[in-house]
């Protein structure tokens, strides 16, 4: 790349639109002074905000559009009204045209995925894109995919995810040969659905150089950080992610109310406040914000719709990271390398 790294922003996405996107990008500018930004959205709303963030304004270009995809638009509606003209579409198109290296949106997931597939198309050899999340664990961080795109993924989709997730772990965590596990249930013999068992056989037979396949893992292995990459189909992955978020929120709620019960507990809380802040920081969804769409001809990050500027900046950090390391090129290389292996493995299996 001869030009600087460029991030395309759907400035109208999310519950708060430019009010979060602009200050979020301003935080990111300070962390990545070599990055440039293109903001797509309503200039009447964005311009005044840019004036208040001169650091960002210096590195950003604004492209006006009246059209924005709404958080409650269905994917088909979004495609009908937003294709070619919406802020979401234009951000994706900037990636397609090579003007930007990654697109980031806090807009609705279904619409963003539908538009991304339409605009960027899936990579050669990839049937279905997936969404990867970075999950805090006791050992650090783990990549979990898919967390919601590939409902009912088959064995081949799962193998693709393993390869893409490993490529992402190499880039994001800097691990040469990331460990990969397939999410499964812990009951012997009736173990798992057919697709998962088949993916396990394929991954064993492939014995890929670029990843260290460790077999099955269970739900509690995610939080333990047993492997660097956990692969699962979109339905169960989404349920795992939401259930973990719910459990964390539930525990914080219990903690908050327990710490208010007596004067001793309140005093204890005041003394240990620093420790509580560390805890909150560790499990803060904002710090881990950003689902990465994998399997498309271009990088797309989905930020939480309700995030704050700090959370949006975290999504931009992830975008910067994967763009800087040219993740798509890595994935394409790894897929090509494993393609011949997959054919061989199937010949053996059949």
């Amino acid at each position: 790349m001869s030009r600087r790294l460029c991030i395309a922003l759907d400035a109208m996405g999310g519950d708060h639109g430019p009010a979060i996107v602009v200050p979020g990008a301003d935080i990111a500018v300070a962390r990545h002074p070599e990055a440039e930004f293109i903001l797509f959205g309503d200039e009447a709303l964005i311009d005044p905000l840019l004036t208040r963030h001169p650091r960002l304004a210096e590195r950003a270009r604004l492209v006006h559009t009246d059209i924005a995809v709404r958080m409650d638009d269905k994917p088909s509606q979004a495609l009908r009204k937003g294709r070619r003209h919406s802020s979401m579409w234009l951000a994706l198109e900037a990636v397609k045209r090579g003007e930007a290296d990654v697109a980031v949106s806090a807009g609705n997931t279904g619409a963003l995925m539908a538009m991304a597939k339409f605009c960027l198309k899936t990579m050669e050899g990839i049937e279905r894109p997936s969404i990867a999340a970075i999950w805090p664990t006791l050992r650090g961080e783990t990549i979990v995919l898919d967390v919601g795109a590939s409902i009912g993924a088959d064995a081949h989709n799962l193998v693709d995810m393993a390869i893409m997730g490993a490529a992402m772990a190499r880039v994001v965590f800097g691990i040469e040969r990331p460990s990969v596990g397939l999410l499964n249930v812990g009951v012997e013999e009736i173990k798992g659905i057919e697709e998962v068992k088949e993916a396990n056989r394929l991954l064993r037979d492939l014995d890929l150089l670029q990843l260290d396949y460790r077999g099955f893992v269970e739900g509690d292995d995610i939080g333990k950080g047993t492997v660097d990459v956990v692969v699962t189909e979109g339905f169960s992955g989404n349920i795992a992610l939401k259930t973990a978020e719910g459990t964390a929120r539930q525990l914080f709620e219990y903690l908050r109310s327990a710490m208010n019960r007596t004067w001793r507990a309140r005093l204890g809380y005041l003394l240990a406040r620093g420790a509580f802040n560390v805890l909150r920081e560790k499990m803060d969804p904002a710090k881990m914000n950003g689902g990465l769409f994998l399997g498309l001809n271009g990088l797309v990050i989905k930020s939480h719709g309700g995030t704050d500027a700090e959370g949006f900046a975290a999504a931009l950090d992830l975008g910067y990271d994967v763009a800087h390391h040219e993740l798509v090129r890595h994935i394409a290389g790894n897929l090509a390398r494993s393609e011949s292996g997959l054919v061989a493995a199937e010949r053996v299996a059949s």
Copy 2:
């Protein structure tokens, strides 16, 4: 029932066998003085323990067997070596013969389910049994099923689970018309796998009197306690359960290490210790111990294999509760009532 309520115990099940089962049952005797127990297992191990727990000894009968299913036996192995003679089988058979009202085992789940199906058979109209767990929530408790038996359950299986889960909620929580939700993912239009969508249509059309069907819920609704009963297929249910357990453990671990970081935090911890204990109690898996097998001609409870006496007693509490309320009879009644409705609903749908 003319005789007292009787609980059959697989005294050899679990990581610690009689060393946990006997003191656990002793705790349960104090809570349910009207209950009786039959212990199946090795008398050389159990007899000395009973001597030390005279309160239980007075209410318990011991049936000797040399054979015990091991925690790592596969279901097929367990069936081969343990059918007719193992402590696990004998406890189930006591229920089948009407000598006991419920069987409780901390043995391995796969073996227990395989034997329970073989011994007790599934209820008329039920294709696949499921395992229900009681989940602590911000609003109290929610029943989640299936957490591991019905991998790849279809729409009809899910409808059966809704009916059985509601019957259980009526008995365990004392709610006349429990609210029921189907676990799904939150992405619009590509929402969910076909089976879940179909079960949703069936439950809407059936419009059952005995439960208040609320449509789809997401993973984070479990911890919120949005509904009394959450229905899902066994693969995703097991992953949700294990992921939540993992997240809770992870948070406690963070909390423990955060509270050890500085002298202020340590002092704070000492002052707030009571509050922390309340918190621990709320999320303690031992307090919620016991997966109930639903859909069989008899009641079977699976306790955690690694639980302590207090945890095993909690599983016995659940067993006592569902046996006391004759849950199987309730379920049979509800299934019969909904059967004609289901036929009608399908006629409308097709």
